[in-house]
């Protein structure tokens, strides 16, 4: 159910992002989704890739600080209010969303979003009860 997200610590200096993407390219790793959070000095790059194990290995070897986190990928109706429904459900249940970002559009009628939550199991169960299925990890990696 949960998808493995890779987070990388990046100093804000020129060329670092280029180096990182080149490491992934050389290992033939495809990026499915990404988001960046940043401060003045550094940023955290979060990635969903087709082979997280291999990606981590290569990034670590190249000297990057990497951590793996379990996140939830949701397919939600691609229309106004589509996301609101899911978020409201979580909010009412007191489940905190740490951060959220969207996939580059691939699903036909739906949009894909990645959610970082504190209580991933409970969230998945709750969403499922309300007809919102988490996208299986294999589907994401294979996409």
């Amino acid at each position: 159910m949960a998808v493995t997200q890779i987070s990388v610590f990046l100093e804000n200096k020129s060329g670092r992002l280029a180096e990182l993407t080149e490491v992934l390219a050389e290992a033939s790793i495809n990026i499915r989704a990404l988001s960046v959070a940043e401060t003045v000095d550094y940023g955290v790059l979060r990635l969903i890739v087709d082979n997280p194990v291999l990606a981590c290995e290569h990034l670590r070897q190249a000297g990057f600080t990497v951590t793996e986190t379990q996140v939830l990928a949701l397919e939600i109706p691609d229309r106004p209010g589509g996301l609101a429904g899911a978020i409201r459900l979580l909010s009412n249940a007191g489940i905190n969303v740490e951060y959220i970002y969207a996939f580059v559009g691939k699903a036909k009628d739906n949009a894909l979003v990645v959610l970082r939550l504190e209580e991933i199991e409970r969230a998945a169960k709750l969403l499922k009860e309300h007809g919102i299925e988490a996208v299986p990890a294999e589907n994401i990696y294979r996409m």
Partner: protein
């Protein structure tokens, strides 16, 4: 256990009388036999008879490592060569090595100091002592060796290296005590774990670790992985070698063999003596050594002294674990700062050897700034920004609380801090002074 209670638990008044008597003899001897000291004393207008109380120690000139290099190899010896029965030397990575000599009586004193050390950590006659300090010019191996024999223990003079074999012999012989550097103790425990050997099941009960700086966190790690009491021992070849000071099982500072060495703490800049409890540079005057006496030798080690009697019964002054070197000292906005202080903060937060660098700069209006760069290791990295920001804030607050000056903390990528020969350059001082 106390090896020599009549010395180690001596009443302070009696101890001071003994120190005074021995100091006067030493001062007289070096003045008469070592041209270096005669020149130095004369330059300050000091005669041996001017030393009438222990406080008069302050009148004497300091001796520094460079003085020993200038007199290479035997210029500081106070007895004729035929009375010297042993030579040791420091590695001499920067310039000439420092050469030290010992008379038969010096070797005796040294063995006594080590016997006290080993005994304070629970070693008794009949114990098997695995001695993995290097044998050779380095004082560690032979120093421990003679002391363990003096105690009546069985010495395994294995020296360093061949770690697999060391682990095997530790097991086969059923050694009770191990002596080596703290980092080597950790390495041995790792090798044992790899060999799926349960070290906690061995009869090993105590370890005597020194010759390099280490921390409380390392102590705990060694104690947990080897199932022993890990004791800190201190010494330097210029003063004697290992056995200058030692932990008792209470591990609350290191007891200094004060009947052999008089310790002082000085401000490394003003060179004025500091009161007990204050941190500063440790200085030693030897008062029994025949071949190689030193007068007010500046160790460059930073620590503080306490003269309070220990619960173990010993009255000898205790020094705190050495927390840095004067060579590394920074003065920022008038405050003396040692990288080790910052390291201790990071150690507690990271629970691992931290990689950090201190950037000192001076602003236009001549205000010094200290920036602490901390490498973000996988252990402290989080995908959540608020956690990284909280970490940054915590490091800043704790350093500021300890140092009393404001600092800024910057998180950097691993290996962002240049390393040379495995050691990171800790300080970059950009001030133009």
């Amino acid at each position: 256990m106390i090896y020599n209670a009549s010395a180690e638990c001596m009443d302070r008044k009696a101890l001071e009388r003994l120190q005074m008597e021995r100091l006067q003899q030493t001062v007289k001897r070096v003045y008469e036999n070592v041209p270096f000291y005669k020149t130095r004393f004369d330059a300050k207008g000091i005669r041996p008879r001017d030393i009438r109380t222990l406080e008069d120690l302050e009148l004497l000139p300091f001796t520094v490592k460079d003085d020993l290099r200038q007199t290479y190899p035997f210029g500081m010896f106070a007895v004729p060569m035929r009375q010297i029965i042993r030579i040791h030397a420091s590695s001499g990575t920067t310039g000439h090595p420092t050469v030290v000599g010992y008379t038969s009586e010096d070797i005796n004193t040294w063995a006594e100091a080590i016997a006290r050390t080993l005994s304070a950590g629970g070693t008794t006659a009949g114990d098997i002592v695995h001695n993995a300090y290097g044998y050779g010019l380095f004082t560690g191996g032979l120093g421990i060796h003679y002391g363990a024999e003096r105690l009546g223990a069985t010495v395994v003079p294995i020296s360093g290296g061949q770690t697999k074999r060391q682990v095997q012999l530790l097991q086969d012989f059923g050694s009770n005590v191990i002596c080596c550097t703290p980092s080597y103790a950790l390495y041995i425990s790792e090798m044992a774990a790899e060999a799926e050997l349960d070290l906690e099941k061995l009869p090993l009960k105590a370890g005597f670790f020194g010759a390099e700086p280490w921390t409380e966190i390392m102590r705990k790690k060694i104690e947990d992985s080897l199932g022993i009491d890990a004791l800190d021992i201190y010494g330097l070849s210029e003063v004697m070698g290992p056995g200058v000071s030692y932990n008792c099982l209470l591990k609350c500072g290191l007891h200094i063999n004060e009947d052999f060495f008089i310790p002082e703490i000085i401000d490394p800049i003003t060179e004025k003596p500091l009161p007990p409890g204050e941190r500063g540079e440790l200085v030693f005057t030897t008062i029994t050594k025949e071949a190689f006496p030193v007068i007010r030798y500046r160790t460059r080690d930073i620590t503080s002294l306490s003269y309070e009697k220990c619960s173990c019964g010993r009255t000898f002054a205790r020094m705190q674990r050495v927390s840095g070197r004067t060579d590394d000292m920074l003065i920022i906005r008038g405050v003396n700062i040692f990288p080790s202080q910052i390291e201790s903060v990071l150690l507690e937060i990271e629970e691992a050897e931290p990689h950090y660098q201190l950037i000192v700069d001076r602003q236009e209006k001549s205000l010094d700034t200290l920036e602490v760069w901390v490498e973000v290791s996988a252990d402290i990295f989080s995908d959540e920004m608020r956690k990284l920001e909280a970490l940054q804030k915590k490091v800043r607050h704790e350093i500021e609380a300890l140092l009393g000056i404001s600092v800024s903390v910057k998180l950097v990528e691993p290996k962002a801090i240049a390393r040379s020969e495995g050691k990171a350059k800790r300080i970059i001082d950009r001030r133009e002074i």
